[in-house]
């Protein structure tokens, strides 16, 4: 629980021990293709809720999702979903849904046929009803009778999600699910996934769009060069990077005076007056945030805005990747 910089310690683990047993677990998993190590000694546990899987291109995100869905076998270590190893075990798909990244679908089918086929392949008691429900969830009822090849990328994506959701899986794995979706479709998909997460499903999705991950995911798993660089709540991850000063942008009734006041505090490493306000670099996050309001009051300065400018997932990610 003390890890800080990615260079110093491989994984900063901040997620509290889940109350329910982990649904998905990686235990010292390594996977290599030939001489290329795609995933290197990764251990992680996921419970119900939405988890974002992040990393630069080629960091091993798809490999992790494929290991979980049994389309790759771990070279070392063990992968389990609900206690079962997915490799050579298609029965896990009774409770797992997968949305692959590639755009390839049975393009000659209509979305309704495609989702219905998925329902039948899952041996659902009432495949028709399940297919309609899934199509409704992704809002594809209107276009459901057109062949998938006539769809835009975003619609294809939704058809794939419907097929993966048709059996109401406990675990849903999605590889770049928002690809090609327009703003409205994105918002809808985020609402859908968030809702599923709140209803106790375990959802793991990879994405390059950090703003989306930040809004949707409860926790993140950051993979860099095949290793787990950090996991947990990204704000907590940020706090653990104690060697990096925390940057705040402050606006007040008297920035110059505020700068003078703050400079006196040992928790503050530096301040700079910018056109947007006062940029403060705090070395001690706890002390700085606890003293801020009081210092302003004591100095008679009106505090207008306090923005933690490097606490976004964007900056946490940049720090982890070493940019």
């Amino acid at each position: 629980m003390t890890a800080v910089e990615p260079s110093a310690v491989p994984a900063a683990r901040t997620a509290p021990e889940p109350a329910t047993p982990a649904v998905v677990s990686f235990d010292h998993v390594t996977h290599w293709y030939g001489n290329v190590v795609a995933v290197n000694d990764i251990s992680l546990e996921l419970g119900p809720g939405v988890t974002g899987l992040l990393g630069p291109n080629g960091a091993g995100k798809s490999t992790i999702l494929h290991l979980l869905s049994g389309f790759l076998s771990p070279s070392r270590g063990s992968v389990t979903i609900g206690g079962v190893a997915p490799w050579r075990h298609p029965a896990i798909f009774d409770t797992v849904g997968l949305v692959p990244e590639r755009d390839s679908v049975y393009a000659f089918l209509t979305a309704r046929e495609f989702v219905l086929a998925s329902a039948k392949l899952h041996k659902l008691p009432d495949p028709k009803a399940a297919a309609e429900r899934a199509l409704q969830l992704v809002e594809m009822i209107d276009a459901a009778d057109r062949p998938i090849q006539t769809y835009s990328k975003g619609m294809r994506q939704r058809a794939k999600v419907a097929a993966a959701l048709v059996h109401d899986p406990k675990v849903l794995l999605l590889d770049e699910p928002f690809n090609g979706m327009d703003p409205r479709q994105r918002m809808h998909m985020m609402d859908l996934l968030r809702d599923l997460g709140q209803r106790g499903r375990t959802i793991l999705f990879s994405s390059h769009i950090l703003e989306e991950v930040e809004r949707l995911a409860d926790t993140v798993q950051v993979v860099v060069a095949g290793r787990l660089a950090a996991s947990g709540d990204y704000r907590t991850i940020r706090r653990l990077m104690t060697t990096r000063p925390h940057v705040f942008l402050l606006r007040s009734t008297d920035d110059r005076e505020l700068a003078r006041v703050l400079m006196a505090s040992p928790a503050v490493q530096g301040v700079a007056l910018t056109k947007d306000g006062l940029e403060v670099r705090a070395s001690d996050h706890g002390t700085f945030t606890r003293k801020l309001a009081r210092s302003c009051r004591d100095a008679g300065i009106g505090l207008r805005e306090v923005i933690p400018s490097d606490e976004s997932l964007e900056s946490v990610f940049a720090y982890l990747v070493g940019a």
Binding site: N57, K153, G154, D182, R184, E311, A318
Partner: protein
Amino acid sequence: MSVIEQPIIEAKSLTMRYPGGVTALSDLELSVQPGITGLVGANGAGKSTLIKILLGLITPSSGQVRVLGLDAQEQGPEIRARVGYMPEHDCLPADVSATEFVTHLGRMSGLPPTAAKEQAAEALRHVGLHEERYRQIGTFSTGMKQRVKLAQALVGNPGLLLLDEPTNGLDPSGRDAMLALIRRIGSEFGIAVVVASHLLSEIERICDHLVAIDGGKLLRAASLDSMTQALPWLAIEVDEGSEPLRARLEGAGLTVSLQGRALLVRLDGDPVFDTVRDTIADLDLPLTRLEHRRHHVEELFERRELDEPTEAKL
């Protein structure tokens, strides 16, 4: 400098009906100013049709379009010579070097051999591919390929760049680099840029203006600043003790509601700031955020009732 510039793109009652009855654009009115403009719209909203019409590749059913003062229906070739276009799809040959490819396209757009070579070198330098310019495109990463596509659009001193989903497939650092590059092209080179993107956060980051089309019609055209104006709500985040804080603030007569991890306080006037500051100081709480809530571009696409007027109000 004070001359009123003519719009970069001007469309008047532009309609495009495809044979078969699909109406991609209906009576679209559009005026794009210099600077960086974001073009957003739902899938199937007519974005790609619009791009084809702007490049003079297809003829609209009715209406008029002028691009850089040229008539899109009459002067397609002239427009294509003056507009740099970066297509969305991967369309690069794998076994050609970046220099060869960009030079070749420069030649195709009518540049003499030496000029094409010089401009290709220049464009590749601008996009940061100077070192890799003799490598085969097939060996490039997605981010580098996107930059080759951008470089070829820059050749020929374009007056306008049309970029279709320029960050498609890029990872976070690749996106950052691409967005910074576009921003630089727009501000330093003074080239007008139209960026079609599905990512509103990107548009908020780099664009000066925004054009949203929906169902073939103009949904909204405005400056980004006007779309992200502050709301009379103050978001407060404390690391601990948000419950007692809420109780005290309400006790002080403020309107408070909880949104995610933030407390939203209605900002009725400047005294609210001091009440908030003093309450936090009294309770000795760690204050991590105090921020105005703002409008988001995204609100454009939130579920709306039918028949909402196109010119939305604030």
